[in-house]
Subunit: 343 residues, 2 copies
Amino acid sequence: MTEKIATIEDVARQAGVSIATVSRALHKPDVVSETTREKVQTAIAATGYTANVMARNLRLNRSGMILLLVPDIGNPFFSSILSGIEKGASQAGYNVLIGDTQNDPEREATYAAYLRSNQADAMILLNGRLPAPLAKAPANATSPVVIACERIPGCALPTVIIDNDEASFVATRHLIDLGHTRIAHVSGPTGNILTTDRVTGYRRALKSAGITSEPNLIYRGDFSIDSGIAAGRALLADAKTRPTAVCCASDGMAIGVIVAAKEVGLRIPQDLSVVGFDDIPHAAAYDPPITTVRQPRRRLGEQAIALLLDRLGSKIPSAHHDSGPVIVPTELIIRQSTGPCPS
Amino acid sequence: MTEKIATIEDVARQAGVSIATVSRALHKPDVVSETTREKVQTAIAATGYTANVMARNLRLNRSGMILLLVPDIGNPFFSSILSGIEKGASQAGYNVLIGDTQNDPEREATYAAYLRSNQADAMILLNGRLPAPLAKAPANATSPVVIACERIPGCALPTVIIDNDEASFVATRHLIDLGHTRIAHVSGPTGNILTTDRVTGYRRALKSAGITSEPNLIYRGDFSIDSGIAAGRALLADAKTRPTAVCCASDGMAIGVIVAAKEVGLRIPQDLSVVGFDDIPHAAAYDPPITTVRQPRRRLGEQAIALLLDRLGSKIPSAHHDSGPVIVPTELIIRQSTGPCPS
DNA sequence: ATTTTTAATGTAAACCTTTACATTTCTCTC
DNA sequence: GAGAGAAATGTAAAGGTTTACATTAAAAAT
């Protein structure tokens, strides 16, 4: 079973041609004669030859690899984006290497080094932060990097995002329209641009309705179910000051808030309305089904890879780049976790 | 900004040594003198050199890549396994390339070809099927492939699994102990070995309690929430023949069954007990919290990568191989979705 | 029939490493 | 201080491709 792997040389010998001809037969079929092409084909079949991708990539000075930096692959939100990216990438002949950074700057830096060392041809960032090495070199307009999901302020790289501010505004507005005035917000972690934007949208909606926002109605979570439970317990502890509605920055946290609400005997939505964010599959199957902001995850991924491929294709900075970030639309999915304000 | 990337030659020139010395300074530091090592270090810093991994790999005839074949990366069940694998791999200097096969044999074959073409050094299969190319060549005992999650009957490759039969037995037994006798089973798709094993465990439990299993109490799903809803609607439609308990082969399907049960006004667990499988994070936060079989996902991943690294390290077939599959223990987590049989 | 043009193939360099082997430079020892 | 042995470094090949350039063969034009 020590069967040696066939190289292009073996094929050439078998077919009675030079290795150059074999290579051409494979990559520029129109330049070799019909008959030799056939000879090469049979020789390939006979030897079971498959090109050594590493040698090929070395010669072409590429890796065929697109690096995808995600903060947490365990989060189903990211895995859908991924499948959009994957499809586009593999169509264009690229593989997707996933770097799970766990929000660790060191891991981010390690992965970013892949770009320099030719281990990756391009990079898509889902984690809302420029890895240190990139941040130093003023992110130049031609580097093959695309940012998705979280915009990076002051960064000129192509970006595809949703309008978090507006989406959060719409979600909050929905609660206001239902008559709620004591509306809490469970946000993401500090320092995250998503957090900032969504808090801004929330505040803007309150303001537009003439409601003054109370700082203690904003609770910082971390997008997880557990942090949602903690938020719910904190916000609902005091029956006197309790909000009648909660707007959450993730579905997981919305679920957590509902769990906490049920703990203290509150009914959803009769006693408390809850809005989520993302529309993960579980949101629709929860009890009650959760009203939430649907992010077009697949589209986000598709747009990101499209932007990147565009960039890889033409060296000139793409048109997209100058026209600001690509914004994909969100949609408020109204289900049964929200209802009129209890009187 | 057309800054050329520094090669080992640039470093050598800068340091006034040969490229061989530079290479040695990096990989066999003890063999070069203190002073030159320092010269090399400063030269590296000055040039900003990072080794071209592709050239290195070509020379060493390896790729540093471990291919992970999963049926669906969107399933959170797999993403946890992944993080266990990822950790071990990166410690050993490998990257993990994820191949999302979507259960498509063609995609499986494409990915499996990576092994032959040196694009990957090894492979971990989470999808319970040998890709065609491997299946043909009688999976020889030394090929760097490890199977996880789903055993492949008659395949001698190292395997790490849970005892699905036993876990399903325990879950069903739990319902029997609560006094249930009309117990349904919502299984995975046909042809999946998980399905077979879990159905077997279910049947074995019934038999051990002297209950004859009724074929129409077994519903084939596909692990998704939606298929669980369908299962629930089908099984609970007729109030006369309705089971008092349902044992599901995934948490998603358990959630689906509960959704369907609530549709027809059944209370969980007073009117219907439901058991899930996997213990995904959402299981604990559901209403009611779901009794389920916890799979040690991270451990599964860790074991798989350990087995693989063991294999890559020593050419001789590892000890593990002969001692049959590695079985990691599961645990029945009893929550509030199961209760005594209604009288 | 001879030259010119075109098509098909071959030769060899380049991509960037690592490492076996050869060579040089030390450091001892007598 | 010469010779041996050890330590450090250098030279060059190898790894499997792709491709610019050179060469040959065939077809077209004179």
